[in-house]
Every structure is written in C-alpha cells, then in structure tokens.
C-alpha cells in the first residue's frame, strides 16, 4: 500500500471537496481496489509466468505462448484502470484549489482596500465595493459566510464533467477486460505460434484463485460505475429542485421556513458517514506537500467558520439547498497545526453591523447573571 501513497495523498485531498456519494466512491476505491490489488491480487499473480507450463520442450515456446495468452497481465490492467479512473478527480481538485486561491487573493485585496478606505474615509464607496466583491464570490462558488466551497457555476460543471469522464473510463476498462480475456480464465490454453512446432497445451497457474479475484474486481468496478451514475443523478436532481424552488422564491411565507430548514440540511450534509481521511497538512515527518496543500487557506477557513457563522444564517436566503462540501479542517487536526500568523487588523470586522451581531454584543434580560 505504500507504493500507492503517491496517488493516495492526492485523493485524500479530493475527499474533502466531494459530495457524500463522491466520498463513498473514494472509500470504495481505496479499500476495495487499491488495498486488495496491492495486498492480495499481486501475490496471486506473482508466479503467473514462472508457473505457466506448456507441454513442450521447445525452447521459447512457453515464452511466446504466455505472451499470446496474456498480452497485458490482469494486475497491470487494473493498475492502469485505477489510475485513469482517478485522474478526472485530480482535474476537479485542481480547479477547486484554483478557486480557493482566487478567493484568498480576493480577500487579501479586500483587506488592503479596507485599510486604504479607512484612511481616506470613503465609507459609501467601500460598501459598494464590498457588495460587488460578494457578488463576484457568489459567482465563483465560494461561500463567504461559511468558509466552504459550494458546488456551483464552473466548479459544478467541472465536477460533473469529471464524473462523466470517470464513468466513460470505467465502462471502457470493463469492456476492454471483457474483450481481452472474457470473464473467466480457462485452465487450459491451446497455443499455436512460432517456434512451437504444433499446437501445444499450456496450463495457467492458479486459475480458480485468479477467477475469484477477477470476479471481485469486476464487481467492484460495476459498483463504482453505479456510484458514479448515482452521483450524477443526485447532482441533476438537486439542480432541477433548485430551479423549481427559485421559481417560488418571490413568495415571502416560504422564506423563513427555508431559512430554518437550511442550516439543519447543511449540518446533515456536512456530517458524512465515511471514515475520516483528514490529515494535518504539515506533518512532522516531512511528508510531501502536494500541489494542492493550502495550509493558510484551511486555517483561515477554520477562523472564518467560527467568526462568521451568524452571517451564514442571514445570507442563506439566496443560496437554496445547494450541495455544500465542508472545507474547514476538523478541530482536532487544527490543534496540531501551528497557529497562523495574521496581520494585526485581520480579525477586525469592519463590515456594517448585522442585526444578529448587534443583538449578541448587548446583554439581554434573560441572560444568566454570574
């Protein structure tokens, strides 16, 4: 499994930005494909050529017959299948990281602008800039309030395309395996190829064990295909539902109920069942800092998430039940990482006071007195 760590590290980053079904797909990939391939299938196919026996003394006949029977070994075929099927997720991951980086740059520019405007005292101009910037952020797929990546716009398109390509690859490899080998391996292979003097009987090593693994890997491939299709359906259905709910947006009576249900729905979607693959981005043993590691961004998001939770409820009116994937680091992980060093005035919230924050800063009559 250590050899798969190159790909494994990248895919764990993808895990954070996927939908629920996407996370299940990744878990299936890790456990039922990579792990099984690395531990069990490799040793089963280990002696495939040395124990491929042909009923002949002719030198070279066994070599050429093995080559004819197995143009590419099953194990290598599955390795290529796993790599090609994982590749679209990496492309999506690149886009997600690009979005995060653009958002970071935008925030830095905003912070600079705030400082500059504070000096000049241009309040109205600043508010206009702020609302423009928020509109930009909404288009890009970044949730200002929650510090999360929302699948919307171009990011959603990339995600959908990546799933479509993944599905196509999966089908191509399943069909390819069927065309090359059929479904089951036969014990006996009859070979007629130079320099074999006549058709010779060749015997495959461990055919039953190999058949068990072939059927297993085929079943897992079909399961992955099914999960990809389910994810596509899930995304398509959500999009259609969102379009319907937007058409009812005008009516005010529905807005409060959606506001109430939205946080619960968000929370339900953020708590995902599959095992937690989160890792600290800077681990002490000098692990690979992948192209997609973004320590600053994730730590900022933890801070954002904590300080701006109130704004999230207020701003949820225009969002609707979009798919939300939590980008913030889990608390136990954040504590292991070094605390970020922000400029002094970073946490000063200079935006206009919302009703909620105004309310929270005052003592209420029903507050418990100590």
């Amino acid at each position: 499994m250590g050899e798969w760590s190159f790909l494994g590290d990248f895919l764990e980053k993808v895990h954070k930005h996927s939908t629920v079904v996407g996370k299940v797909w990744l878990t299936v990939l890790f456990i039922f494909r990579m792990l099984v391939l690395g531990t069990a299938a490799e040793s089963s196919w280990g002696d495939e050529q040395s124990d491929f026996m042909c009923d002949t003394q002719q030198p070279g006949c066994e070599n050429v017959c093995y080559d004819k029977a197995f143009p590419i070994s099953h194990v290598r075929f599955w390795v290529l299948q796993i790599i090609f099927v994982s590749t679209p997720s990496l492309v999506y991951m690149g886009h997600a990281m690009h979005t995060v980086r653009m958002e970071e740059k935008r925030k830095m520019k905003e912070a600079e602008l705030e400082a500059r405007e504070k000096k000049n005292g241009g309040d109205a101009y600043y508010q206009q800039k702020c609302s423009l910037a928020e509109k930009e952020a909404k288009l890009s797929g970044w949730d200002e309030a929650g510090g999360q990546i929302i699948l919307r716009g171009s990011l959603l398109n990339t995600y959908v395309y990546s799933i479509l390509i993944r599905t196509a690859m999966e089908v191509a490899f399943i069909v390819g395996q069927y065309v090359l080998y059929g479904i089951f391996l036969e014990t006996l292979y009859i070979c007629q190829r130079a320099p074999c003097p006549h058709p010779v009987n060749c015997y495959v090593s461990r055919p039953t064990e190999k058949n068990v693994f072939i059927v297993f890997m085929l079943a897992v491939a079909v399961l992955s295909l099914f999960l990809s299709l389910a994810e596509l359906y899930h995304l398509g259905w959500k999009k259609a539902k969102e379009r319907c709910s937007r058409s009812y947006k005008a009516s005010p009576s529905t807005v409060p109920s959606r506001l109430e249900s939205a946080p619960q729905a968000e929370r339900a979607q953020m708590y995902t069942p599959p095992p937690d693959f989160n890792q600290c981005l800077s681990s002490p043993n000098g692990k690979f800092i992948s192209p997609f590691s973004n320590k600053m961004a994730s730590q900022q998001n933890t801070a954002n998430f904590a300080t701006e939770r109130v704004h999230g409820q207020e701003d949820a009116a225009g969002e609707g039940p979009f798919i939300k994937s939590s980008y913030a680091e889990s608390p136990e992980v954040a504590s292991e990482c070094a605390a970020p060093a922000f400029p002094e005035n970073y946490f000063n919230d200079k935006r206009r006071f919302s009703k909620a924050s105004r309310a929270s800063s005052k003592a209420r009559s029903d507050d418990l007195s100590v």
């Binding site: 990248f10 040395s50 030198p59 070599n63 143009p71 070994s73 290598r76 790599i83 320099p195 690979f288």
Partner: protein, 222 residues
Amino acid sequence: MDWGTLQAVLGGVNKHSTSIGKIWLTVLFIFRIMILVVAAERVWGDEQQDFVCNTLQPGCRNVCYDHFFPISHIRLWALQLIFVSTPALLVAMHVAYTRHEKKRRFRNGEKIDIEELKNEKIHIRGPLWWTYTSSIFFRIVFEAVFMYVFYYMYDGYQMPRLVKCDAWPCPNTVDCFVSRPTEKTTFTIFMLAVSGICMMLNLAELCYLVIKICMKESRKTT
C-alpha cells in the same frame, strides 16, 4: 527503489512553481514514478530469468541477454526521472539562498517581519526567473536526450519477441526469446507518451514565463 526522498525534496520546490509546474509535478508522480514502481518493475522483474535461448551452450544465454539489453528499461527510466527532477533542485537552492540572505539582513538589524519571511510566497522575478527558466530548459533537454537514447539503444520503441544472437560462446546463430514482449511494448509506449506530455507541459511553461516577462517589460516602457 525509494522515491520518497525525491518526493520530499520536490514537494518543497512545488510551493514556488507556476500552475503549469504543479501540473507537471503531479503528472511526474502519478503517471511516471507510480507506474514505474507499481507496474513496470514487475513486468521487467523476470526479464533475465525468462530470457530463453534455443541452445544448451552454457554462458550463451547470459552473453546474449547482455548484448541485447545493455541497460534495462527500468534502470533507464529511473535515471531519466532523476535527471529530469534534478533541475528543480537549482530553484530550491536559489530560494533557500534568498531566504538566508533575508535572515542575515534581519539579524544585522534591518526591520523585516520574521513571520512574513517564513510565509512569504516568493515571486518568480529577477534572478530567480533566470534560474527557473534555465531549470525548465534543462528539463526539456534531458527528456529529449533520454527519449533519443531509448530509440537508439533498442532500435525503436517496440520490444521484439525473437532476437537472433551469435555472440561468443554461442556456437552459431541462436534464437532467443524475450519474456512478455507485448506487455513491455505497451508500457514503453505509455512511458513515452507521458514523457511527451511532460515535455509539452515544460514547453508551455517556458513560453508562459517568457511571454509574461515580455509583457511586463513592455508595460514598463509604455
């Protein structure tokens, strides 16, 4: 072969690369190093054991194998990957030197924020631009050289099934049969294709850097 050390070194360089550089690094790790370690090494694992010659003459098989495979594909790919990754170390050294200079100035009393120094993203301009560009140029050169060496040494990119050998001590021209030629050809072509893609990425990165600096210069003059 332990590629973890290379991974650790290149991971540090990655922070200071352009986006295309990061894509190149991903392709390098997943489509080349990983394929080499997980798949290709096993395909070539029994290349000498299962190299069979149609003779009982002792030593003939050894000599013929040595004649047709002076360096195994696996070792040649490992060398290629090491040579292609090495120019990135130049960039890492330059960045380390720049940081060291800044720390030295800080110690001498100049006012530089130490936290900013640690987290600063070093932009590719000035002397670092020259280092970075020359590292990409050398990468392209090494890739091309190795692709040519493969072509020259093995007469193309296809693995033959049968080779005829008459090196001493073989008594006459003997037929020798290569192990798993189809699978080897598949992987050779795959690695060749990925080398080509990496070369395209490096060329694109080079063009991007040159165009960026030209635009910057033209903006300064206008």
